[in-house]
């Protein structure tokens, strides 16, 4: 069912997503997350390329999403937010902030939650590869 109540920003990000794509190859400075399942209707791959600090800072982020309009828009908006954030700052970003910024209908808030999961999972993956990274 296509909802008629999507905000302009949501529709803009779903029609013209930012930072859609995949980094060419795994690398020690790239954290990758793959969250969700097809049966649940949403799968997000989120990648962060991190510049070692201190403080470690996200240079660029990329995403791919299988999911509804809200999922695609939330993932796109999040990659914009991630640019230039320290890992600590990125860890603080929440689904509630996404939901508010996109004016998500209540039934679509789960999309934002999956994006939040993806961010934290990508950070955890990077940290797992770079144990000396300073999260400040």
């Amino acid at each position: 069912m296509a909802s008629p109540h999507y905000s302009e920003l949501l529709l803009e990000h779903s029609r013209h997503p930012r930072n859609a794509g995949t980094f060419p190859a795994p690398a020690p400075d790239i954290g990758t997350a793959l969250v969700g399942t097809p049966e649940n209707g949403a799968v997000i791959r989120l990648q962060i390329q991190v510049q070692a600090g201190p403080p470690a800072r996200i240079e660029t982020a990329r995403f791919k999403a299988y999911g509804d309009t809200a999922t695609i828009a939330a993932a796109s908006l999040m990659t914009e937010w991630l640019h230039g954030k320290t890992l600590a700052e990125a860890q603080q970003l929440t689904s509630g902030q996404l939901a508010q910024a996109l004016d998500l209908p209540p039934a679509r808030v789960f999309s934002a939650m999956l994006v939040q999961d993806a961010v934290r999972s990508a950070i955890a993956h990077y940290v797992g590869q770079q144990p000396e990274a300073v999260l400040s």
């Binding site: 296509a2 008629p4 109540h5 905000s7 793959l34 097809p38 791959r45 791919k64 509804d68």
Partner: protein
């Protein structure tokens, strides 16, 4: 944050299976019966009533003629949903001393399934038959389900979601041999395929007006007289329609359905040829897309309906992306629910494929330009969403996505 502005113009309408525009000729036929000739057809004492009754009877003969029946076999109802209720509940109760077992198919419309479910609550036993992956009923499966206490079988002629046509003649013969009442929901079939109760052993047939370019809110139930089918009335109050369905007859609605069915009988040849051309155009426009699956048998179908699943993209995103075309995803009647279509699940489709489906349906007033617009819109949406999809990326790398375990190692 402001809501997105409404589109400047309405989308192209390709959702004929949900409802059809009323033919202008039908509108013209209906109008005099609203404020000018407004009599109650049951008013037998004056000309206001006589002329309304005459119009009703003429419309009745038009509806009957489309299906090879006699006028007196037709009962007016408020629509195919009510006809289904009257047929199924009416027959189940009428024959309950003979038996309390009913049979239907998992791919039926909710009007049939929910009615059957309600009868289960009243102590009836119902068998819901599986279909083959192509959507067609296997006659052997039906035969195996028949019991000495079976009194009714209900199978739709044309499926509203995927357009497949069941073998009504063979099903009817099986039922007739055993004295079992055979009900057919023909709401999607009228004007799209030949229906003939003289040559096909159908006992009860539900008909809708609004799927055949008539107004909403009126339908009919064909009730066979030879051999006679008994029904317990569901709507009481005055004994109209031979006691089978009480309620003042809406002359303007009935005139509309009558005219719609009269036109359908005259124009079925050209309507079908037109739909076939549009179907071929649509197929040609989409056939080179990879991982796109037609739902339902490719041969045993009406040409007015194509339902495709698009792998590796999500259904709501697909529907939103094609917002310049009015389509349906899953069953139109339950599109408020996010449950994947029960019909597509019954074909064996995964939840994901069932959810990422589009039903494209068209008819008398659809133009080739509209089909071309739909093709362009669908292609662009599929290209866009697959470029964003990690599942499509995995597929392109040669991974069997359906076989993957989640989360992947």
């Amino acid at each position: 944050m402001s809501a997105a502005p409404l589109p400047r113009k309405r989308p192209v309408y390709l959702d004929y299976a949900a409802t059809t525009p009323v033919d202008p000729r039908v509108v013209q036929a209906m109008v005099p019966w609203l404020a000018e000739h407004f009599g109650n057809p049951a008013s037998s004492s004056h000309a206001w009533g006589w002329e309304a009754e005459e119009a009703v009877e003429q419309a009745r003969s038009h509806v009957a003629a489309l299906i090879g029946a006699q006028a007196r076999d037709i009962v007016w109802t408020s629509g195919a949903t009510e006809s289904d209720n009257l047929a199924i509940t009416g027959a189940a109760l009428a024959y309950q001393k003979k038996g309390r077992h009913l049979i239907t198919v998992k791919t039926e419309h909710k009007a049939v399934l929910d009615t059957m479910h309600a009868l289960e609550g009243q102590g009836f036993s119902v068998t819901y038959l599986d279909v083959q992956p192509n959507g067609l009923l296997d006659l052997a499966v039906l035969q195996a389900a028949l019991r000495p206490d079976t009194t009714l079988v209900s199978v739709m002629a044309v499926n509203n979601e995927i357009g497949v046509v069941q073998d009504l003649a063979a099903i009817g013969r099986l039922c007739r041999e055993r004295g079992i009442v055979f009900h057919v929901d023909a709401a999607q079939a009228s004007g799209k395929m030949v229906l003939d109760v003289q040559t096909t052993p159908i006992d009860l047939m539900s008909l809708a007006s609004h799927k055949t370019y008539g107004p909403k809110g009126i339908g009919a139930l064909y009730v066979r007289r030879q051999p006679r089918v008994r029904l317990q009335a569901q709507m009481h109050g005055g004994g109209h329609e031979r006691g089978l369905r009480s309620g003042t007859l809406p002359t303007h609605q009935i005139v509309g359905m009558g005219e719609a069915f009269r036109l359908a009988r005259l124009e079925i040849g050209q309507d079908t040829a037109h739909a076939q051309r549009l179907q071929q155009r649509l197929l040609a426009g989409l056939q080179d897309l990879e991982q796109v699956f037609l739902n339902g048998d490719a041969i045993h179908r009406v040409p007015h309906n194509l339902n495709f699943s698009f792998a590796h993209i999500e259904g709501e995103a697909l529907m939103t992306s094609v917002s310049d075309v009015a389509l349906s995803s899953g069953s139109a009647c339950t599109s408020a629910s996010i449950e994947p279509s029960h019909v597509l699940r019954a074909l064996g489709r995964s939840n994901a494929l069932a959810h990422s489906s589009l039903r494209i349906s068209y008819g008398r007033f659809t133009t080739e330009a509209e089909i071309d617009q739909a093709v362009a819109s669908i292609r662009a949406a599929v290209r866009h969403l697959r470029s964003l999809s990690p599942l499509w990326e995995l597929h392109q790398q040669g991974v069997d996505v359906a076989a993957m375990a989640w989360p992947p190692a």
